[in-house]
């Protein structure tokens, strides 16, 4: 008897959850829900008060103004962004996401809005000079889980040992402590991390693979895609990207220009 009432409570509870879940998905006149991981300064980050800010946040806000829709920033871990988009929890992804063929199989992308590439953060003691040097037994590569660096290392640098880490800071630490030969990440992050650990690391900034960032969308959402492409075109012609670059990345912009490394926007 005790067991039976327990089971019925359990069934009732679970059914209740299901009904609740279906009831809340329907809502009218929706705001634009933009997914991003707020841990990639200066693109996606939070200000000291905990409010989202950064290049991508400003970009999303400008997009919202053009579409006349309220913008809601959803902070989601990077490798959870695509599942969130696919299950309808968010409407688009603006999270410094590279448009790759692999990702294009499951989501659609807008026109690219930014050009960058993969670079190397190398330990000071390590003999590694290029990405090709890493593809050898005995080499250890640190990557952040779910990034293009992770994908590149697991498909193109198979001879090396791969350390898959959750956090960018942990991957940098692996290199700084000499536990890994190199950390593969985009050139801007590599530049910034190298400055922070100048004694223990050096940077190989010239991208060995070029990449472009784009807004991620559901494949069926062609209307939003056209709206976003129009917006990006207009935003660029109005000099919006240049302004964001000057606001958030003045030093990096100058440094990359000086080294003649393709930079952004």
């Amino acid at each position: 008897m005790v067991m039976r009432s327990f089971v019925s409570i359990l069934c009732g509870g679970l059914l209740g959850c299901l009904l609740f879940a279906t009831a809340t998905t329907a809502s009218a006149a929706p705001p634009l829900r933009v997914g991003m991981e707020l841990s990639y300064p200066p693109f996606e980050m939070t200000d000291p008060q905990g409010r989202p800010t950064g290049v991508s946040v400003k970009l999303a806000e400008a997009l919202g103004r053009q579409l006349d829709r309220e913008v809601v920033i959803e902070n989601i871990a990077f490798d959870g962004l695509i599942p969130a988009l696919k299950t309808g929890k968010i409407d688009c992804i603006i999270s410094s996401m590279t448009a790759t063929p692999e990702r294009s199989r499951s989501i659609a992308f807008s026109d690219p809005y930014l050009k960058t590439g993969l670079a190397l953060l190398v330990g000071k003691e390590s003999p590694v000079k290029s990405a090709a040097d890493l593809d050898a037994p005995g080499r250890t590569i640190a990557v952040k889980k779910g990034t293009t660096g992770h994908q590149y290392a697991s498909t193109s640098l198979k001879k090396a040992r791969l350390l898959v880490l959750d956090k960018e800071s942990a991957a940098v630490m692996e290199v700084a402590q000499g536990k890994a030969d190199a950390f593969i990440y985009d050139s801007l992050s590599v530049y910034q991390n190298q400055k922070r650990h100048a004694e223990a690391t050096r940077a190989v900034l010239r991208p060995f693979r070029e990449e472009t960032w784009a807004v991620g969308l559901r494949p069926g959402d062609t209307q939003l895609r056209e709206q976003i492409n129009d917006f990006l075109k207009q935003f660029r012609s109005e000099g919006g990207f240049e302004k964001l670059g000057d606001e958030f990345l003045p030093e990096e912009k100058a440094a990359f220009k000086a080294q003649d490394i393709p930079f952004y926007f």
Binding site: C11, D79, V164
Partner: protein, 244 residues
């Protein structure tokens, strides 16, 4: 109603509810993508089994030593045990792993992340084990020890024949629960890039973008490890009941 029948009915009801939940979610399944990475799952599962076994043994040993320290009449020894238990139980395993690997292990030149992972996990679980063991021993009434001495048993005999058989029965359910926690906590080792079962599933997820298809096998795999443990604990409990 026999027990096995009740279990079967509840399991079927649960499965039906979960199936109903899935049928209501509009989700495009992609098992083929995940199947390509089956080798990764198997490797990760193997690593998790090995890590869990090693830390199970080590945490039991650490727990016994710490329980002895906690019960010691020497205040210094008791203090060592107490500080260890409170420090470990009061801080997150995540912090212990990061500090343990990037600071402590680096300082002493221990570079193997698997060894460090097992050690930290064993120390973490050992603190809980220590309290379980101490509680089990403290629960045996003093009259038992007095009676054992009265019938002429040596201290070692009284421990082996009187105290331990009763204490083991008392602590078994809690120890089994702690072992189950330990197996699941081993998933946190992924933060120091130990490529265990959970990290394998997360990687497959980030390659295939098939979240549920990556994580459902994970749940099944952990059950495969923890259910036999629970069964074994119940079996032992029954055996020790008759040895009293």
């Amino acid at each position: 109603m026999p027990r096995w029948l009740a279990h079967t009915i509840v399991v079927i009801l649960f499965a039906a509810l979960i199936a109903l939940a899935f049928s209501r979610v509009d989700y495009a399944w992609n098992w083929a993508g995940v199947w390509e990475y089956r080798q990764k799952f198997l490797q990760g599962f193997g690593v998790t089994v090995a890590l869990s076994l090693a830390s199970l043994v080590a945490s039991t040993l650490i727990g016994i030593v710490a329980a002895v320290l906690l019960g010691s009449k020497n205040v210094m020894l008791e203090a060592v045990g107490r500080v260890y238990v409170e420090l470990i139980r009061g801080t997150p395993l995540l912090v212990q792993l990061l500090l343990g690997f990037y600071v402590v292990a680096s300082a002493v030149g221990l570079e193997n992340r698997y060894v460090v992972g097992v050690l930290v996990l064993a120390l973490f679980s050992g603190a809980y084990m220590a309290e379980i063991f101490r509680g089990g021993l403290a629960a045996i009434p003093q009259t038992q020890r007095d009676s054992a001495r009265a019938i002429g048993l040596t201290p070692w005999q009284s421990l082996r024949l009187v105290i331990l058989p009763q204490a083991v029965r008392l602590v078994l359910p809690a120890v089994a629960g702690q072992f189950v926690s330990l197996i699941k906590d081993s998933s946190l080792l992924s933060v120091i890039a130990v490529s265990e079962f959970t990290l394998a599933a997360q990687e497959v997820n980030s390659f295939t973008y098939s979240t549920l298809e990556s994580y459902l096998p994970l749940a099944a795999g952990y059950l495969l490890l923890t259910l036999p443990l629970s069964a074994l604990s119940r079996l032992l409990e029954r055996r020790y009941r008759y040895e009293m």
